[in-house]
Every structure is written in C-alpha cells, then in structure tokens.
Point group: C2
Chain length 230, copies 2
C-alpha cells in the first residue's frame, strides 16, 4: 500500500445537549407541500445543506450523487406539468371514498418553493467494480438516499422545509434536465424557508394513516408476524 | 373527512448550537468495521436510536420498516459465513494490484459487534395503492433507507458505531431470519460502542478513493458534464 497505515483516533463524545438537538431535529422534520415562503435561500445555508448531503455514507466511498439546483421558472413549470399528468392518474387508483381527501390536498410545492433540488445517482461513477457493491447493485442508490436524509435534517435545522415529490414519470423529468441514461433521478425536492409546519406528519394529522407503535416493529433474532405484517 | 381540518403551527427554530451539533454529528459519522467494543448496548439507548429511525419520512406515511435485533451468536455465525463466501467472490473481481489492499482490510464487524440490526421494508404494508408511491414503486425502500440514516446519526450521537454490511447474497441472509418474500432486506447493520474512529472515511484515509470537491457536484437548472461524470 502506498499510504502509511492509518490508525483510528479518539472519537469525539457528544454531550446530552448535542444528542437532544439531533433528536429534536429528527422529530421536527416534516415533508412540506404548502408552507413554503417565497424568500430566497441564503447561498451559505444552501452550501451547508449540500455539504451535509455530501458527508453522507457511500458504498466504497463512491459519492455517486450530484445536485441540480433549480430556480428557472420555465424548468419548474415543465416539472409541474409532469406532476399534474401523473397525479390525475394517481387519483383514479384510490377508492371512491379516499379520492375526495386525495384531491383536497396540495401534494407538491414545485412552483411555490423558491428552489427545487434534484439529487441524482451516477451509477457509473466508481468504475466497473465498487467496493461493497459487488453483491447488491442498489447500494449506490441507497447511499444517495442517505445523502437526501442528511440534507433534509440539515435543512430543518436551518429553518428550511423540504418536500419530496415522487408523483411523475421519471423519464419525462430526466428529459427536462438532460439527465443521462446511466444517471438515476433519486429525489426531486422542493426547498424553501418555513415559519409554520404541522406538529405531526400531515397524513397523520388528517387521519389518513396513524403512527405505528414502535414496539410492534421490533423483532428478536428472526422474523415474527405481527398485526402490521399482513 | 372525519378529522377537523388541521392547521400548521409555529415551527420550532433551532439555534446556532443545535445546528452545529447536527453538522458535527453528520461529519463525525463513520462506517465502522473494526473499532467495536464488546460492551452491551444500553436498552434505553437502543430504543432511542430505533425511535430516531421510526421518525424518518415515509411515502404515504407508510412506515414500511421493521427492525430485527440480533444477539444470537448462532445467527451471527450464519451471516458471517454468507459474508465470507460472497467476499471471496468479490475479491476476485478487483484488479490484481487492488486485491492485496482489499484482502488486507476487515470489511465487517458481524461477530465483533455485540448487536446486529436488520432493517427491512415491508412492500405490502400500505395496501395496494400508497399515496405518493403510484409512479415510483421504490419510494418505500427509499423511506427505509432514510430510517437507516436517522438511526446511524442517532447512534453516532450516543457513542455507538454502525457498520453497514452489503457483501452477501440477500436471499441467503433472508432465509436465515425467515424474512418473507414480500419483505425486502434493506440494511444489515453491525452495532456497538466505539471509543476510536478514523478521522475521515477509512477508504479515504487508506488512499482507495478521495473526497470529491463539492463544487464539482453542483449543477444549475440542468445536467452538465464534469470530470466526475464519465
């Protein structure tokens, strides 16, 4: 090996206040659709949340992500049209009694939020063989999702709301931004400052689906069937 | 709708110290293979990191995750055997000059860490149609990865290291734990207290691959080719 053999060093210890800050940010994070303010994102804050994403774990240290920052109204309008077409299809998939609720809610903030960010995964970045990805090709996409979650938490700490839009045909949105075939569009995020948020997940607040008791989700040493595992 | 129309409330504002705590935890997080201490994980700490995972975003508030907590040495031994077989295959995929480095490194802490946790995604949990998942079936797996990242950050804040093992045949490991066909094994995590960690990602410290300049990863309003996008 070319490098001298590196050694681990004393790991930083986080105190109670720091730990609590993390837990509070995790609990206060929301998927935002309608609460975006029009104010521009401060460039320094944008760089901090992108840097948080870039500090995510990645298989084989592949760092497969890119960030397309979008403020062009014409581009946002095209994405909104892709959303609207898909959403009309989606509505029809629900039972009649749920269609009214589905229709009544704003499901995206593409145009209302001042910034949109696409997070992509370049599946060719690490070369033909990537350390740790030899037996699960999806690990690069998982790494990219870890980056999205880091970005989301950082944004919440900055007073910036994030809404993840997934109701569109991916190939149509990839074409809008000239994203190459070997690059996966992982997340389309609406990004804007917020002053108000729901105090629990909006779909829970609206009675669409309730929080599962965590004790019903934990198993010991093997799979066991529970009420949640039909 | 059955529920009264809920409204957003004032969003909590995080101060500089809280924000910095999050950024410090994000930067200090590592993928741990060899630094695990044998000490048992405190039950309260385990519940806190699982609760952090459970507070992740999920498409349609589907909460598709389960957590299989593993401390049975016989189960861990079976997983280790699955890893060893796959890793022997993996090694052969690298060029001769990289095989020596690959072989020299410990790639997992399955037996060394006191606890392993499998995070799964129950793809049937939300019923046939899930809000927001109508046009991208992978959104439930992405939600589960967000839960993994929350768990990982929470663990770091608790002084607990996490190592994500992905070098094995998934179906073989699913069989060890009787995980049903409709449930995806998303992450196999080694979990244990740590006192020492590498001060940067280990593969970077060892010269395997270097950190990409973040400015080379950011694009504006559309895809542009850069040095990293071959």
């Amino acid at each position: 090996m070319k490098n001298a053999d590196p050694k681990p060093v004393s790991a930083r210890i986080f105190d109670d206040a720091e730990r609590q800050a993390l837990y509070d940010i995790i609990e206060a994070r929301r998927d935002v659709r309608n609460e975006f303010l029009p104010d521009d994102i401060e460039p320094d804050a944008l760089m901090r949340i992108l840097r948080a994403a870039h500090n995510a774990p990645s298989v084989g240290f592949m760092q497969p992500w890119n960030f397309i920052v979008i403020d062009d109204p014409a581009q946002k309008q095209k994405v909104h049209a892709a959303f609207a077409d898909a959403n009309a299809e989606a509505e029809q998939m629900f039972s009649k009694d749920r269609q009214e609720t589905y229709r009544s809610l704003k499901l995206e903030g593409i145009k209302k939020s001042p910034l949109n960010i696409i997070v992509t995964c370049d599946r060719a970045r690490g070369g033909k063989v990537v350390w740790g990805r030899t037996h699960d090709a999806a690990m690069d996409v998982y790494s990219t999702v870890c980056a999205v979650q880091n970005l989301w938490l950082a944004a919440r700490a900055e007073g910036i709301g994030i809404g993840w839009v997934s109701i569109f045909e991916k190939d149509r949105v990839k074409a809008i931004f000239n994203i190459p075939a070997h690059v996966e569009l992982v997340a389309y995020l609406c990004v804007g400052y917020v002053e108000e948020l729901f105090d629990k997940p909006e779909l829970s607040a609206r009675g669409w689906r309730h929080r599962i008791d965590i004790n019903d989700l934990i198993m010991k040493n093997g799979w066991t069937d529970t009420a949640n595992n039909a």
